[in-house]
Amino acid sequence: MSKKYGVYICKGCGIGDALDIEAICDVVEEEALPCKTHDFLCGQEGVDLIKKDIEENGTNSLVIAACSRRVNYNTFKFDGCIVERVNLREGVVWSHPREEFPKLTEEEKEDENNFDRVQMMAEDYLRMGMARVEKVKLPEPYLLETMSKKIMVMGGGTTGMSAALDAANAGYDVTIVEKEAQLGGNALKWRKQLPLQAPYEELIPPVAADKIKAVQDHPKIDIRTETVVARIAGQPGDFTVTLKKPGEKIEFDVPYPLPEEMRVDENGKELEHEALMEKYREYNEGRRDILTLDPNGEKFGAVILAAGWRPYQPKEDEFPHLGWGASPDVITNYQLEQMVAEGKITRPSDGKDAKNVVFIQSPGNGTDSDFPYSGVVTGMVALKQAQYVREDYEDGKAYIFYQHMRTSGLAENFYKAAQQDPGIFMTKGEITSVEKNGSGLAVSAKDTLLGENIGINADLVVLGTGMVPVTYDDPTVNLAYRQGPGFRDNEVFDWYADSNFICFPYETQRTGIYAAGGVRRALSVEESMEDASGAALKAIQCLESVNRGISVHPRSGDMTIPEFFFQRCTQCKRCTDECPFGAIDDDEKGTPKPNPTRCRRCGTCMGACPERIISFADYSIDSIGSQVKAVEVPSEDDYDEPPFRILGLVCENDAYPAMDIMGLHKKSFSADVRIIPVRCLGSVNVIWIKDALSQGMDGVFLLGCKHGDDYQCHFVKGSELAQIRMKKIGDALSSLALEEERVAQYEVAIDDYDNIPGIINSFVEQIEELGPNPFKGF
């Protein structure tokens, strides 16, 4: 594409009042680019001005200096054109009001040692924008050679069947894979189920039976019972799945990566590549490598993981103070459910009627947390099972001791209805002991709503234990990915298949695999059906994005993919290791093998690559590097007291929007800072920081999402990886006699707009204390 440039400057929204637009045009014209200004660029007339240039002059590379790229996106979107938005409004004018940063007076202008910081900022941003359009390309979609639009649902319980029905009713072919001989899962075996619809007051028969019939009758649903997944190879849109009977050993069982301790020699040194490969083959004897596709494998486009849960079974000595293990009359809620499916509630010890039943929701012992792997649903199950007591015995009494009694949505009505039963008694409270008392049990509790320590003579005690995701015991998805068959760092989520529960529900850490139901959280049938719909829609979104060569999420619609310049690859495997989504495998030699449809376009690989051979069409080492170099760094040759120059690399997911909001609120920060948005801090390559410092900039800060166990990073690992890289760069800086403090990383959330000025300004102050970069002017 031969580029024809055009620069357009908007004077609206206060830009024209605050800045010397003519001077900015001079900056543009210095680069020999045409510069046009307009009072109101996003209006019809302004847009027509741009369109006229596109049509008549063939302009296709546009620099639009106006508002933030996050607003008026569609107004300034022109097909077939590269568009760079220079943020003069939120980024310069609004966040640097003239009351605080006054213009130079005519008199001041005469002295060449005076300068206008805000004007300098605007001019730099224009230079940076022009530098970027010069370096980027228009992306072309990556299309799979063959694509399957079939969806595989793992698990034939309520969630899996619901997801299959949702997807099939939307027109997709679905295959349900169920390891048991019968569909239905856990919920099929219950006496009753929590309500699904208004008025949400009464228990209903389990819906699993109806669902079984519906999936069996559906022409678009194929059911495989007594089947498990041996491996899922390939990538979204083109998964090759090997199915097998449970317990079978086959050559297409997924291989596992070498455990950490096997990767080193006796001296603790990392083994050479060849030796590693040897060990890997040994370790996975009888299993084909991940890159070998099963010729008999079935093709699927996306996977819904609805493999479910198993009941939490407390260890023998886990809750001695609750009588667990000591008395057979202390059971779990799951055991009670099994008991009532067959008959009345009785005491396991002697088979006599159990009319006084105590339900314990929290194990206590000084904490108020519930049993492991429980959730909102365990409270509701207690309400349900309390009703069984009342159903079975007219004079039955059910006591519920809770620390949290939660009901989601309209299920509050269910709680209210249960409360009305004269034989159901509820209180917040901590159980202190459950002891034998004749043929029954004596339950003691403290901190109750009754205001004193209380005792209850019970026949049966039921523990509100939780639902353990099957991914706790086994990777289940068995992905033929170099990073391993399961979800990475899954222990952060207590082994629930998840990546970010609140922001990105259903999206696991593997693109194309969408989790729903008990594998994702402890939940009720109603919630699992809702989950099923969510995951089905996500799977469909995946298929309908992959088929057009665009990213699924969170950068939905992004057409770029990472491009590798393999001639220079040193097979260091950092991209393979660091990709948060396992998008990159490597071959026998260790050369990366990208799987573009697994990719979420975060650029973490680009940030990782020491050889800088990875780039995206519109986002590359060179494009950002050129922007950094486009910043003018004044030295003592220019002014007696040259201003500092500080670079801010800002994550565009939360931090950059927060800075826009900051501008909207007219919150100001130092005008010596130059901001460049980045896809994720994970994509920040240290070369940019070196570039900035070696051209005399005085400091660099990174602004991104929170990392760690409660991360908010949109790409899971990006900000964490950036943190590690920044630590390493510190050593390099000190070898250059530069202070480590010149580079810093800060965590912000999208609602931190109020705090960001303080963060930036204190960093600037810190740099000012260090003094100017000694390399300035060289």
Partner: protein
């Protein structure tokens, strides 16, 4: 743990509360808005939150001997502010009814009084007693003579007959109260000690009487009642009814003494101060009762049970029949005035005989509970 309370819920008790005005009781989710809203709950162990959970758990042993339910004046602030519509005010009212029933014997009378179907029986019994006793003794004369041309009620219904019936009846009421109260005071003290509402060890008579004397002006002035928000307008008519009862009690006592000590017969002159007091009391009773009835009818969000209505209509009936008897006498309508006098006496019989069983017993229980509260120094904040 030794110091624990063994919970033994009584499902029948819960159903009973729900059947006597506390239907909403189980809606409570223990947020304690009620205890905050209540203008008269003490700082130490405030009510009615704790009563709500005890009631929804069916803990009869914690509720009936509980003095707190009597400190409540049913002002309705808690009910108005309850986010769940659990109506704590109505539950407390229901608990008071059940306490009255618990402490008053014999149970058959108490049960008859809570059953609307037994109402005709309650009205027929005194009529039968009057007629049978009157005919046997000859103290009831269906063709009474006029005295000096005027109507004298004792010619129809001898004052001897009145006293043969009502003196023992009053003694019976007092005896039942006495027996109930003895148990009641013991129980509320035990309850207060076990729930930490008081530091007093036992009940010392002198201190208790001093406390009683202290609360009487509070009751007369309705100072507690007036602290209420929602039902503040009930305070005035309630006060009218209370004061008219006191006035009529004084009138009856004076008449009794005049009759037996000074042998002075009625009817009194309209200018006689005793007569004036009687008339004022009668009118206040009618107005007060009518207003209370109207307010209850208007307040549809609060439960009014049969027992509430029984008492209110009885009080209004007493006032109306009393005044009509007098007016018809003055109008010289002999048959009608005798008829209303007879009805009036039936109603008086109901009032006295069933006093320890009816809602009116709150006069006694509340007074005792307030005196106990004063005595127990519960309002005095712990340092």
């Amino acid at each position: 743990m030794a110091d624990k309370y063994l919970v033994q819920p009584d499902i029948d008790f819960i159903n009973e509360i729900r059947g006597t005005g506390g239907e909403t009781l189980k809606k409570c989710f223990q947020c304690a808005t009620c205890s905050v809203a209540c203008p008269i709950a003490p700082d130490r162990k405030p009510f009615p939150r704790k009563e709500m959970i005890a009631a929804s758990w069916g803990l009869k042993d914690k509720l009936l001997p509980n003095p707190d339910i009597w400190l409540c004046h049913n002002c309705g602030d808690c009910t108005a502010q309850c986010p769940r519509g659990a109506k704590p005010g109505d539950v407390m009212a229901s608990l008071r009814m059940m306490t009255i029933r618990e402490y008053a014997g014999p149970k058959s009378v108490a049960n008859a009084l809570s059953d609307p179907k037994k109402l005709p029986l309650l009205l027929v019994i005194p009529a039968v007693i009057f007629i049978v006793l009157g005919l046997i003794t000859g103290l009831l004369d269906f063709s009474p003579e006029r005295v000096h041309g005027g109507i004298v009620h004792s010619e129809f219904f001898s004052h001897w007959l009145v006293d043969i019936v009502f003196v023992p009846l009053t003694i019976w009421a007092v005896a039942i109260f006495a027996m109930g109260l003895k148990r009641f005071i013991g129980d509320i003290h035990k309850n207060a000690v076990s729930e930490g509402k008081t530091d007093k060890q036992g009940i010392e008579v002198k201190g208790f009487i001093a406390a009683l004397i202290k609360v009487i002006p509070v009751i007369l002035k309705h100072s507690r009642f007036s602290e209420c928000g929602e039902n503040n307008d009930r305070a005035t008519p309630h006060m009218m009814v209370l004061f008219s009862f006191i006035a009529l009690f004084i009138v009856t006592s004076v008449a009794f003494i005049m009759l037996y000590v000074f042998n002075h017969h009625g009817p009194y002159s309209q200018l006689n101060p005793v007569k004036i007091l009687a008339n004022v009391g009668g009118i206040a009773l009618i107005i007060g009762a009518a207003l209370l009835i109207k307010q209850r009818l208007d307040k549809t969000d609060e439960v009014s049970t049969y027992k509430d209505w029984y008492l209110l209509w009885l009080v209004l009936g007493l006032g109306v029949t009393g005044m009509l008897t007098e007016l018809l006498r003055l109008a010289d309508a002999a048959f009608l005035t005798y008829l209303f006098y007879f009805i009036h006496l039936i109603l008086v019989f109901n009032l006295i005989a069933f006093l320890p069983f009816s809602k009116l017993a709150h006069l006694v229980y509340r007074t005792v509970a307030m005196a106990y509260n004063e005595y127990s120094e519960r309002e005095v904040k712990k340092a």
